[in-house]
């Protein structure tokens, strides 16, 4: 028996050694000790953002594209119609289709878009109007995939920034039927403005031709419309042109082609560089398809202006001097930082929809420093007092309880270090509850052993029956709290989750140390020699 027990204790020691290793040892070479433990924003400082993905953007863009495609298709099939455009709500409206060709028009719509849209039609005086409304299933799917894409893009950007241990998570909804909020947590960042710019910029790049005659620049939208004879042709749109010229920068408007020559999708890469005057700029390189399109367009339009548009704002509008193939440059009085940020954005791809910042929390590293200092100080005092009390009240058996408490904490922290979970202030609170329950388990056992001793049992029998009688008490109370921790983790957020994780792991460690480890230590002490009186 005794030999068997020795092996068990050795195994437990090895296990505890491994746990200790995982939270004490440096994670990487050269890193400081304890660096495996990820500290949360509240302890380390950093930025926490709640972003809402405006999924309507993606739907609207798709509706506009489909409207354009339908128009092109009808033209190529010689089906006469008045207009095809995005209508009210999530629908495409096609008006004035010649009644004689309405059958063909309908057949095309049903074949191509039958799964995506609900088709309604209305005929009046030899003309037919169609309304294609997006089905709710398709809308839901698109919204979901838009949020996922946005998350991926943000992840690429954050990775490119080289932030350690970022947290990105899709989370609750804001009225839409899908979860459309994204939580971004970046510990150790103390430049929140720049980070927000990097994350929330849509970075939709397109290169469009400026209208050949009367393209601008104009000083206002009205003057642009007047110059074009009161109506901007359907294929064109007016965009804001803000060329940053430092002191004399002004806002202007350009009339540009709606259909882009090149979009961000045709981009191979982008990197910071300098323009002809040595000022920071961004060079971009097109993939082979993009290069072909670009070469063709620049060849045909030598002498015209090409607008470089970022997020629906013209950044610059140089004149095309010659045929250009795979390479271009974006100028605009950047600082070096801005140039490298913009090229990072272009490399990581555009967001599929715009983002709105719903919440922001930036904790300065020094504020985090304060809270970690006082939090650890208070915890150590509490821990010390509890240990002292146990040793005074339960004498040598108190040593057993203290070993269990330390083992419990080692397992908990070791697990946190091993899986890379993040320790937050509420997480420390979870540890405190765990330690409270561990103390309780030991007290339950000791009180029960005392009772058994009072009823006249021998030391060994009292210990064994004490453990077996409180087994289910400890299990019941720990399992109940474990269940609560699981639900809190599943449905809670941020701080509540941090609390639930440490509580969950701590309780499992508690069941092990209180029921198993403590009993083996008693056996070991009692087995080594005959003991008449137990110090308890």
């Amino acid at each position: 028996m005794q030999k068997n027990l020795r092996w068990k204790l050795i195994l437990i020691l090895i296990f505890l050694g491994i746990c200790t290793y995982f939270f004490v040892s440096p994670g990487e070479k050269g890193a400081p000790w304890f660096s495996r433990l990820n500290l949360g924003l509240d302890l380390k400082g950093g930025i926490h953002l709640v972003l809402q993905v405006v999924t309507d953007d993606a739907l609207n863009q798709e509706l506009r594209q489909d409207a354009d495609r339908i128009a092109q298709e009808y033209r190529s099939r010689d089906i006469p119609f008045t207009s095809s455009r995005k209508g009210n709500g999530f629908a495409v409206e096609i008006t004035g289709v010649d009644a004689a060709r309405a059958g063909d028009a309908r057949a095309y719509l049903e074949d191509t878009y039958g799964n995506k849209y609900e088709l309604r039609s209305k005929s009046l005086e030899g003309k037919t109007d169609f309304v294609l409304a997006l089905t709710s299933g398709y809308m839901r799917e698109t919204r979901e995939s838009t949020v996922r894409q946005a998350l991926e893009t943000i992840r690429r950007r954050v990775d490119a920034l080289g932030v350690a241990e970022p947290t990105l998570q899709i989370y609750g909804g804001s009225g839409q039927e899908v979860d459309d909020q994204i939580i971004v947590e970046l510990p150790g960042i103390d430049d929140p403005e720049r980070i927000k710019g990097l994350i929330a910029n849509t970075a939709q790049l397109k290169l469009v031709l400026v209208k050949k005659d009367q393209g601008g620049p104009f000083s206002s939208v009205e003057s642009a419309i007047t110059a074009n004879g009161g109506v901007i042709p359907e294929d064109y749109e007016i965009l804001l042109y803000r060329e940053d010229r430092g002191e004399d920068s002004r806002v202007e408007y350009l009339v540009v082609n709606r259909t882009p020559v090149i979009t961000g999708k045709d981009l191979k890469t982008a990197r910071p560089s300098t323009d002809g005057n040595g000022a920071p700029a961004v060079s971009f390189f097109l993939n082979s398809d993009g290069a072909k399109l670009f070469a063709l367009a620049t060849e045909q339009h030598v002498g015209e202006q090409l607008a470089i548009v970022l997020d629906d704002q013209v950044r610059s509008a140089p004149v095309i001097n010659e045929r250009i193939e795979a390479e271009g440059i974006i100028q605009g009085r950047f600082t070096q930082q801005q140039a490298s940020d913009l090229s990072l954005l272009l490399r990581s791809g555009a967001l599929p929809a715009s983002l709105v910042v719903l919440g922001e929390r930036s904790v300065g590293a020094s504020l985090g420093n304060d809270s970690i200092r006082s939090g650890i100080f208070a915890s150590l005092i509490g821990f010390g007092l509890v240990i002292l009390g146990m040793l005074i009240y339960y004498r040598q058996s108190g040593i057993n309880a203290v070993i269990c408490l330390i083992a419990n904490t080692a397992i908990l922290l070791g697990f946190m270090g091993m899986v890379g979970a993040t320790l937050t202030l509420p997480g420390i609170a979870g540890i405190i509850l765990t330690i409270g329950m561990a103390v309780d388990a030991n007290i339950l056992i000791f009180e029960r052993i005392r009772e058994e001793l009072r009823s006249g049992k021998t030391v060994r029998a009292a210990v064994d029956s004490g453990f077996s009688k409180v087994l289910w008490t400890i299990l019941d109370s720990n399992i109940t709290t474990l269940l609560a921790a699981i639900f809190l983790f599943q449905f809670g957020t941020g701080p509540i989750r941090g609390f639930a994780i440490t509580l969950f792991v701590g309780l499992i460690a508690n069941i092990f140390t209180a029921i198993y480890l403590s009993h083996r230590i008693f056996e070991w002490v009692l087995g080594s020699r005959r003991i008449e009186r137990l110090s308890i």
């Binding site: 430049d191 304060d370 979870g430």
Partner: protein, 397 residues
């Protein structure tokens, strides 16, 4: 050492005392709730902005209040934060962001009005405030001046950039950690461990401003209401799970009694929050959950003893068995409550401002949680079997 030998107190016989105490505590809570206009929810739940500002010298709070006042919102709540010699205040603007107004614009407005009132930003010689500068701002400035003479050594632009980025990082580390967020003068930076040339160059373009923003939280109203909904859902589901487990392990009425006691504990604690107008933040919610875990643990320990005693003693009434079980576990109850109370109370005393609401809830909760097991959970079970369970009572729970 033993504090309690076998006690034989008639706990259940005092149940009207308990009910009276509970009713009084609940009444205090309800009256404070009504009189004080409800609970003081933090911006986690209401939306709004909190800024933590540290000043060089004790700030003029009236000037601060005047500066941040805005015609279209409630006056800002300004509180000292931390120790008196920290010169740190917490400014809370509780205004719900409206449609066009973004969190960014709110923040900018705050920072710029602070800068105007307390003379940060650029000083008369056009120098920038070091205490509110970011890493990239410093790095760009230094890279341009190149005080360490890297260009003369024919280093590439990339090396130059990396070097000054690191210098800027060291400087900010010093500011944030050693100097507690705010340097008194740029001469201090000599201690940060960067070259004297770099410090000299910085002094030409930067000055040590009178305050620093140590932290900022801005929560939109949408996030707040969503959070409240989620927190409620999580807690109710957790309660449900506990109810089912206890009902399954003991008897349904035991589960109901335990959950009833939990609601009682949470209600009384929230009542005290209404009375003291301490802020209910997400961390306080975590504390309420801790309290719930603690209280249910306590209840289960006593129920478990009742279950055991019901098996052993076939003749005694449930009334006597409940009393006996409470007395048998009394020593444990007092010891556990005592130890956890000590741990949590030290958190309340030394844990700092951030943990204050949290440890307050726990300190109260530990006392209420132990009390409610005896005063409510046990008496409810006894009442139920006396009223409905004459025949089933004797079966083991």
């Amino acid at each position: 050492m033993e504090l309690f030998k076998q006690t034989s107190i008639n706990w259940l016989g005092k149940k009207w005392w308990f009910y009276g105490i509970s009713a009084a505590l609940l009444a205090i809570g309800i009256i404070s709730y009504v009189a004080r206009g409800g609970l003081n929810y933090g911006i986690d739940f209401t939306g709004g902005t909190i800024v933590f500002v540290k000043f060089q010298n004790a700030p003029d709070l009236d000037l601060l209040r005047e500066t941040l006042k805005s015609p279209d919102s409630a006056p800002p709540l300004i509180q000292r934060f931390g120790q008196a010699d920290d010169n740190t205040v917490q400014v809370r603007l509780q205004r719900l962001l409206e449609g066009g107004q973004t969190i960014e614009s709110e923040r900018e407005r705050l920072v710029s009005s602070l800068a105007r009132a307390f003379g940060s930003g650029q000083d008369t010689e056009g120098r920038i405030d070091f205490n509110n500068a970011g890493a990239s701002q410093l790095a760009d400035y230094l890279a341009e001046r190149d005080p360490d003479g890297l260009r003369a050594q024919a280093k590439s632009a990339l090396e130059l950039d990396a070097h000054y980025r690191q210098v800027a990082g060291t400087l900010l580390d010093y500011r944030n950690k050693e100097a507690d967020g705010l340097v008194g003068s740029l001469d201090e930076l000599g201690k940060a461990g960067v070259s004297p040339a770099a410090v000299a160059s910085l002094k030409q373009g930067f000055h040590a401003g009178p305050f620093a923003i140590k932290g900022l939280e801005s929560i939109g109203a949408v996030v707040g209401s969503d959070l409240r909904r989620r927190a409620t859902l999580a807690v109710l589901l957790a309660f449900g799970a506990m109810l089912v487990y206890i009902a399954f392990r003991f008897k349904p009425i035991y589960g109901v009694a335990a959950i009833f006691a939990l609601f009682h504990d949470v209600a009384i604690t929230l009542g005290l929050f209404a009375l003291t107008q301490k802020e209910i933040s997400l961390t306080v919610i975590a504390a309420l959950l801790t309290l719930v875990g603690y209280s249910v643990n306590d209840t289960i320990v006593i129920f478990d003893r009742v279950r055991e005693n019901l098996r052993l003693m076939r003749k005694e009434s449930l009334f006597d068995i409940l009393n006996l079980s409470i007395n048998q576990t009394l020593s444990r109850t007092v010891m556990t409550s005592g130890f956890t109370f000590v741990a949590v109370f030290s958190l309340f005393l030394f844990g700092g401002e951030v943990l204050n609401g949290f440890s307050f809830a726990l300190t109260v909760g530990i006392i209420i949680g132990s009390y409610s097991t005896i005063a409510l959970a046990a008496t409810i079970v006894e009442w139920w079997y006396r009223r409905y369970g004459q025949k089933t009572r004797r079966r083991t729970a």
